[in-house]
């Protein structure tokens, strides 16, 4: 087992050559593999010089957590252990990150909600850890089926949220995520979301760089906060929090602190634009009057719908949002020029993405926003359902 002291300027403790994120994502030669989302996450962590990972099993992320544990046994991850439950895991992850470790964990569904308080605490302490969320249902009666309602609960935690459509995006995003989250002027936690089962358990073709290279380690001394020692100044704010005191000025600090965290999420845009090659990806007809605004695997289904509509002589396009926090308003507005109808297909009952789109576009563009189609509880979203929704709007009363 290698030790952290084995790190050199050119190689990490497992002997991998240290490279820039640009080299990893854009320059290093790649070969084709056939992997599930869980397996591909292991490959990403293997190339990320990760110091610490904490896990707790819950479907469908258990396999990914297990595979990261294998990486520890193989000498690629510095510290790995199982927490007592998801709340414990997210607290322990915070401790690792605040101590200056590049840290990753995974969770799903009810585990996300059990851990919820921690996500706001993560962002409040400006710790740049990564959570890979493999979304699943959270409702009673108990379900383990695909559903992404839990993302709605995470929207206002102060964490960045990116959304991958497939295993390739999961690999690239989870590497880029560390880099963006650790930028000194960003430095907030990041949630990389995928739809559980559809991505975590589906085997797809994926292009990977060789595993003898890895990202440079995290530098906690470039953090906007000193690496935390909760007893000693200057990092003693956790033990002596300003909000606990009745000082008349504490409201100013707390309000500014919250604005600052959200400002940090906004500052991440320029880094994400570069590493993700844009905050939105647009496919289909440029001059379409019908657009689908999507994230995750709903994008894939919408693209299928777009191709079928094309056969019917109806032009449409798919605007896939790759970041939800920060929300890419400018890019979305640009992509919607000339569009008359927007449809928001989703895998949840409430339509949180449609709500987001409506809120962000209110008063800015002259389009009709249709909050659907959406399915929940593990149902699939076939192209037929998308086509039917469109035809009922553009061809009322006659259906598809």
């Amino acid at each position: 087992m290698s030790k952290i002291t084995d790190m050199t300027k050119t190689h990490n403790w497992s002997g991998q050559k240290l490279v820039s994120i640009d080299h990893m994502l854009f320059e290093a030669p790649r070969t084709k593999h056939f992997m599930t989302g869980s397996e591909v996450l292991k490959e990403a962590v293997k190339r990320a010089t990760v110091d610490a990972s904490v896990s707790y099993p819950i479907t469908p992320q258990s396999e990914a957590a297990h595979l990261i544990g294998e990486l520890w046994a193989e000498g690629y991850v510095g510290v790995y252990f199982r927490g007592e439950n998801e709340f414990g895991v997210m607290s322990e992850v915070a401790g690792c990150s605040m101590a200056g470790a590049r840290t990753i964990t995974t969770t799903s569904g009810p585990g996300t909600l059990r851990a919820m308080e921690n996500f706001a605490q993560w962002s409040g302490t400006r710790a740049p850890m990564q959570l890979v969320l493999m979304a699943r249902g959270i409702n009673s009666p108990l379900t383990i089926q695909p559903d992404n309602l839990e993302v709605q609960y995470l929207l206002e935690t102060g964490c960045m949220i990116w959304y991958a459509e497939n295993v390739q995006e999961l690999f690239d995003m989870s590497l880029a995520a560390f880099t963006v989250a650790e930028q000194p002027d960003v430095h907030v936690p990041i949630i990389t979301a995928v739809d559980g089962f559809f991505v975590s358990h589906t085997r797809e073709a994926v292009e990977l760089p060789e595993d003898d290279i890895a990202l440079h380690p995290y530098d906690p001394y470039a953090a906007p906060l000193p690496p935390i020692d909760s007893e000693m100044p200057p990092g003693r704010f956790l033990r002596d929090p300003f909000v606990m005191k009745s000082n008349y000025i504490s409201y100013a600090t707390h309000a500014s602190w919250q604005w600052e965290i959200r400002s940090a999420v906004e500052r991440s845009k320029r880094y994400a634009r570069h590493l993700l090659k844009g905050l939105v990806h647009v496919t289909g007809n440029e001059d379409a009057e019908i657009a689908f605004v999507t994230c995750g695997t709903a994008s894939n289904q919408a693209k299928e719908g777009q191709r079928e509509l094309e056969k019917l002589g109806i032009k449409s396009k798919v605007i896939k949002l790759r970041t939800i926090r920060p929300f890419p308003e400018e890019e979305l507005e640009e992509a919607l020029k000339g569009v008359k109808h927007v449809f928001v297909p989703e895998f949840n009952v409430v339509g949180w993405l449609a709500n987001e789109v409506k809120a962000k576009l209110y008063g800015k563009v002259d389009v009709n926003i249709h909050a659907g189609p959406r399915v929940a509880g593990g149902m699939s979203l076939p192209a037929e359902a998308i086509i039917q929704e469109v035809m009922e709007v553009v061809n009322p009363g006659k259906g598809a």
Partner: protein, 189 residues
């Protein structure tokens, strides 16, 4: 009060919500404008030399000798204060100060306005303050005072300051001191 900066009056303004972001590498920020580093240095020197009670707020990263660069920077900051005719009030650490802050001898990121009010400071340089605390302090200062704030930052800069210089290490501080001397001579100070 609070009439400077891109967000104008707001209880707790945030420049990013006005579309202002930190400057790219090699550039600086004056209010909403991205400018050359030297242009910003000249304006910073002018403001400091012509404002009432101009003050430098050095933070823990230059107050404590935890590496050679910190020691070198600290020496240069003292020279900078002499050139700019500026006072120095340190930000020793980031804990809230209770029962009350001693505004004559220190500034704190949780209530920086108290120090600025008490000393009637109209221009200030923040240097060596960890970025998150600098950003919090700069937001409060902009909301609660009419002080012109300047961030001299070793990392990416601070859009909530009225002037931002980024990637500032000892070499850049030496350059700034040279420019400040020229501006001082031009102003006849």
């Amino acid at each position: 009060m609070a009439n400077q900066g891109p967000a104008y009056y707001s209880p707790y303004p945030a420049a990013t919500y006005e579309g202002v972001i930190t400057p790219p590498e090699g550039k600086a920020l004056l209010l909403e404008d991205v400018v050359d580093e030297e242009t910003a240095m000249r304006e910073v020197a002018r403001v400091m030399l012509t404002s009432e009670n101009a003050t430098i707020f050095p933070g823990p990263q230059v107050l404590y000798g935890w590496n050679e660069e910190a020691k070198k920077k600290a020496t240069l900051i003292k020279e900078m204060a002499d050139v700019l005719n500026a006072k120095m009030i340190p930000m020793y650490d980031y804990r809230p100060k209770y029962p009350k802050i001693d505004a004559e001898v220190e500034i704190n990121p949780n209530h920086p306005n108290l120090t600025i009010w008490h000393n009637n400071i109209k221009a200030a340089i923040f240097i060596g303050v960890h970025c998150h605390y600098a950003n919090v302090a700069l937001k409060i200062v902009r909301a609660e005072t009419d002080c012109y704030t300047i961030a001299i930052c070793g990392l990416s800069g601070h859009e909530d300051a009225m002037a931002t210089l980024r990637d500032q290490h000892s070499h850049e501080l030496e350059k700034f001191i040279k420019i400040a001397k020229e501006v001082k001579a031009e102003l006849g100070k």
